[in-house]
């Protein structure tokens, strides 16, 4: 996940079925066939190039990395049996299993990882996630990505076929969970190079080493994966086949679900009303946060009271209950609920830090009048940059209305496509901005490090020495001391809220319908949304 866009929720997980024929053969007889729908075509099956959830979903279903995430989002062995970490936490040595093979029969070796990771940071490859995920983590990744060093200098070496050694820039406590991420999946060098430009373009130009393998891929229409019999853990895979169709419209998804063509579909808030009391209704929580970014280089928003007013002015409960109506929760800080827990006590981050920002119109108004005084303004006009999706527009209309409860404030909403918003964000060409973020690995750092003075995603003009030192300390000196590190993060979040860098809105959930006979699907907080490896169908 990452820069998230509200509205991506519209249907990320609609499901569809394969042709009638197959249904006759398998679906109806209660065989292990899962029919799903996705809201968009798979953009790429090249793990170096993948950037979005759908790609990571199906990379994750067809490939095993060093580790994968288990039901509790903890790393479980994939290609790696186990690993050792050096004293200083900068050298990881992974022991790979020897029974893993590619679907063409080649063994999966340490070199496959070396090749894949090097490829991901190779500027000639043009990967976006490679440099992002590896820079500052794996040794020399940053320099290589910038074209200043040869790829062979990357801190990853195949000691032998089944031993992989990774050299980190510094101790990275969450590195283990990173290895489950799509960008770190292995690539069969020989095959990839043989396919050249057509690698991963079609079902037959890609290889699988995971629970499923591609059987067919009709671009734009859908694809089918079937159980990979050569998978090292094939005995634990029960599903025979997953049919996926591209379904863009929520109503269509619901109609398909009701006519039995797909086994799961996402619901928009309108449909939730209709299906809320259904047994098939479920809410999938996600650790994705939405919040308002405030540009501190702006005259008005440089005033901390103005920002605080905005933080408190919005009735978030009504927003999640009525507009989103999909189980999303108001967020009160900058760490999702149920995402990370204290390394010792297991207590949740959110619970420990409590509700930092609550809806409180009175407080907001107080801050606002102070702000107006300080600024010497009576009338304030702010531009609010929002997304152009249906949900985003509704939310934005609501927020406009809510913020305008602050006397003298006029909010003008500009709805722009995601790409445009990103560009204006980068150029800090905005005043208020509706933004979202999902984790890239399971560690508080993924939410907090972006507000560093030079954080790649800060773009708010926020710069606090105190904050910077808290985060930097956590990632260097305290990297090996989980508890102290945890404290730093708690501190940092409070500071972030106190400095009113952003106004939290909500933590997203997805409402969906899922047929009762679908079992064993794990929901992941990062990377692939679902794990189907252990899924099975159980019809009466």
């Amino acid at each position: 996940g990452g820069g998230d866009e509200e509205g991506a929720d519209e249907g990320s997980g609609n499901e569809g079925s394969e042709s009638e024929q197959q249904e006759g053969e398998q679906g109806a007889s209660g065989e292990q066939v899962l029919n799903l729908a996705e809201s968009a075509e798979i953009p790429t099956m090249d793990s170096s190039m993948a950037t979005d959830t759908i790609a990571f979903q199906w990379l994750g279903s067809t490939k095993d990395g060093l580790y994968r995430l288990d039901e509790e989002a903890q790393a479980e062995p994939g290609i790696a049996k186990d690993h050792e970490v050096s004293e200083d936490g900068t050298t990881y040595t992974f022991n790979l299993r020897e029974d893993a093979t590619w679907s063409n029969g080649d063994p999966v070796t340490a070199n496959d990882f070396v090749y894949a990771w090097q490829r991901a940071v190779d500027p000639d490859q043009g990967s976006e996630y490679g440099p992002y995920m590896m820079s500052g983590v794996i040794q020399n990744a940053e320099a290589i990505a910038a074209g200043e060093m040869d790829v062979s200098e990357l801190g990853v070496t195949a000691v032998d076929d089944y031993t992989l050694e990774v050299q980190l820039e510094q101790a990275t406590p969450y590195f283990e969970s990173l290895t489950a991420f799509g960008t770190f999946l292995p690539l069969n060098q020989e095959f990839v190079e043989e396919q050249g430009d057509s690698y991963a373009q079609e079902a037959d130009t890609l290889l699988s080493n995971g629970p499923f393998k591609f059987e067919s891929w009709d671009h734009g229409e859908g694809w089918t994966v079937v159980k990979n019999e050569d998978y090292w853990d094939a005995e634990n895979v029960q599903l025979e086949q997953i049919n996926v169709n591209v379904v863009k419209d929520i109503a269509t998804g619901v109609n398909l679900y009701n006519s039995g063509e797909i086994d799961r579909t996402a619901l928009s808030s309108e449909f939730v009303d209709e299906y809320r009391s259904s047994e098939e209704f479920q809410i999938k929580d996600e650790p994705t946060l939405f919040y308002i970014k405030m540009n501190q280089e702006d005259e008005v928003l440089s005033n901390v009271n103005a920002r605080k007013a905005i933080q408190h002015a919005i009735d978030k409960q009504s927003m999640t209950d009525v507009i989103l109506n999909n189980g999303s929760k108001p967020s009160t800080g900058h760490m999702p609920e149920g995402f990370v827990t204290h390394p010792e006590t297991g207590e949740g981050f959110r619970e420990m830090n409590g509700d930092l920002i609550t809806s409180d119109l009175e407080k907001a108004k107080e801050h606002w009048s102070t702000a107006k005084e300080e600024l010497g303004m009576e009338e304030v006009e702010l531009e609010y940059l929002g997304g152009d999706t249906e949900t985003a527009q509704k939310i934005d209309a609501y927020i406009k209305d809510q913020l305008e409860q602050l006397e003298g404030l006029t909010v003008n909403v500009t709805s722009v496509p995601f790409e445009v918003r990103l560009e204006r964000d980068t150029n800090m060409n905005y005043q208020l901005q509706n933004s979202g973020w999902g984790p890239d690995y399971i560690d508080p750092n993924t939410f907090l490090n972006m507000w560093l003075t030079d954080g790649g995603n800060n773009h708010t003009g926020y710069s606090s020495e105190e904050y910077d030192s808290l985060i930097n300390e956590a990632n260097t000196d305290l990297a090996q001391e989980p508890e102290a590190r945890w404290e730093n993060f708690l501190e940092a979040e409070k500071l972030l809220m106190d400095d009113a860098v952003l106004a939290p809105l909500y933590q997203r959930s997805v409402a969906q319908l899922q047929k009762p006979y679908v079992n064993g699907v794990y929901v992941n907080p990062m990377g692939a949304d679902y794990t189907y490896k252990y899924a099975y169908i159980e019809k009466e």
Binding site: P123, Y132, A146, D197, G220, E221, K248, P417, F418
Partner: protein
């Protein structure tokens, strides 16, 4: 004839080139980057990635490269679908759109023409008002509303046809009907007006004076003449049906080109936007050419080799 067509083709090429140029520069005005994870990357990193796509070159160089590519039939590589050739994507997506477009065009014009014919024959009668009403309604109700209703009733409630998806001929039924409404309305209107006009013309009186009966008058003498103006609007209609179907494509989950186009716009996938634009334009010009040739078939007065 051959000369005429080849002249037209040359002209078409020039037009396409101009269109390519225009869209190319328009594209450069679009805000945003084509990168899908731009928020993750520092500016330097973005620059490196853009380098790979040649987007850091000076504009004239980019333009020259693009046009040069065009002449080799190379529309470039897509950004959102890494490494996939625009040409391949267009070819894949064209199929369903064309199928739906063609089906609905044929269905729509035939039904519409029949409606219009009946209305013209029973001028000012109940049938006339009825068919005019259908035509007006067809023009007035947004196709997506109609599509939603079709899907819900014919698909979900009564189970007559597949609700959505694209897996066989029966899957084309609902979207085709939804799309056909507009051509039905248009064709019916045109047919009625033209037929009435033709029926009032002298040669129809001549035919009747020969003893040709009503049926013969309408079908043997009237139809072909009344169709001439209809042919003119079929061109743009065909193009809009084959390209502008994205709403229907979305609702029925059809992997078509219209939907792809809007997606590309949302992701700043320049090569696909340009490729699609060019392709649409090509289609448009080609259809116009075909229509002009058709004209010659329907109306013998138009000789393509004569005059200009």
């Amino acid at each position: 004839m051959v000369r005429y067509i080849s002249e037209r083709l040359v002209y078409m090429l020039i037009t396409l080139l101009l269109i390519a140029t225009m869209t190319f520069f328009l594209m450069k005005l679009l805000p945003g980057t084509p990168l899908s994870a731009a928020d993750k990357l520092s500016e330097e990193q973005q620059a490196i990635v853009l380098e790979k796509y040649g987007l850091n070159d000076p504009l004239p160089v980019q333009y020259f490269n693009y046009i040069a590519g065009l002449f080799q039939g190379d529309l470039g590589l897509s950004f959102q679908f890494d490494n996939r050739e625009v040409t391949t994507i267009l070819l894949e997506r064209m199929g369903p759109s064309m199928t739906l477009g063609a089906q609905s065009l044929i269905l729509g014009t035939i039904i519409g023409m029949l409606l219009g014919l009946i209305a013209a024959i029973y001028h000012n009668g109940v049938v006339d008002y009825g068919s005019t009403l259908i035509a007006v309604i067809g023009k007035s109700i947004p196709s997506f509303v109609f599509a939603g209703i079709l899907q819900f009733y014919l698909g979900v409630q009564w189970g007559l046809f597949p609700v959505a998806l694209w897996e066989g001929w029966e899957y084309t039924v609902l979207p085709t009907i939804a799309l056909a409404i507009f051509p039905i309305a248009i064709a019916a209107r045109y047919m009625r007006t033209e037929m009435l006009e033709v029926l009032g013309s002298d040669f129809i009186t001549t035919a009747r004076a020969k003893g040709v009966n009503r049926f013969g008058v309408v079908f043997k003498h009237g139809l072909r003449n009344a169709m001439i103006p209809l042919v003119t609007i079929i061109g743009p209609l065909a193009v809009s049906l084959m390209t502008g179907t994205l709403v229907i494509e979305n609702i029925f989950s059809v992997p078509g080109i219209g939907e792809q186009f809007v997606k590309s716009i949302n992701t700043n996938d320049y090569p696909i936007i340009m490729g699609t634009t060019l392709f649409f334009s090509f289609l448009f010009i080609l259809i116009i050419l075909i229509i002009d040739l058709l004209y010659g078939l329907i109306d013998p007065r138009i000789r393509l080799t004569e005059g200009d």
